[in-house]
Subunit: 108 residues, 2 copies
DNA sequence: TTCTCTTGCTACAGATATTGTAGCAATACG
DNA sequence: CGTATTGCTACAATATCTGTAGCAAGAGAA
């Protein structure tokens, strides 16, 4: 079953970019992949799988394809996957998230 | 002791809060729910479903339970669901995301 | 009371998405 | 030739999500 792929980003029909982005990021491993690529060096697909708790290659490839199509990740031949400039901008918005996570963990 | 329910937040075994948080947020509708609750007034479960493209009540309740357990959302009797103080702090980290989404939509 | 309306929430079956294992072709070394 | 690696895929078993239907409890109104 070839080519007819369903819309790469659900929710885009509303035409509101934030919805499309929230939908893209709200898929398993997507946020994690971006997080693991935060360092400036590229990671091979297998190194990335290892970093992501040995996520299955099937879904890993699916997420990587979506992220590449979204222009957030790129595959550099002979090097591996890395964030694009746009992807790095997105990651920057996660930095406060890290600090929040620490506070959140101490809740209760 | 109700028997061991499966961990409310996957990935928490690593002990790294950011992983647990990324896992929690990386579930369908979770990011969207937080986004829709951004206004200061509470939303009933049905208003929330409507806002979230008529998401099914099953998964909506599941996500709301997780978010309540995580201390990010609360149910105010006779009023509806709303972000907790902690949840609102989390939302604050999303604001740059909105601006990013606009730039991202113009990619290519 | 009973009749409505709403609330939060759940059951259930069919449809999707994800996992885990295995393996492919291409490339690069020896 | 072998033996590695790379990115990537097939396939079946699971887990998760969807859509429809409906529950019990509470608030008014009659």
């Amino acid at each position: 079953m070839p080519a007819m792929k369903k819309s790469a980003v659900r929710g885009s029909r509303t035409g509101r970019p934030i919805m499309a982005l929230l939908d893209l990021l709200g898929r398993r491993w997507t946020l994690r992949i971006i997080w693991e690529l935060r360092e400036d060096h590229a990671l091979t697909s297998r190194a990335l799988r290892t970093a992501c708790d040995e996520a299955s290659p099937t879904i890993m490839q699916a997420r990587l394809s979506e992220l590449r199509e979204a222009g957030l990740v790129e595959l550099v031949a002979g090097d591996g996957y890395r964030l694009t400039t746009l992807g790095r901008e997105l990651f920057e918005t996660f930095v406060p998230l890290h600090r929040f996570a620490e506070r959140w963990a101490k809740r209760g």
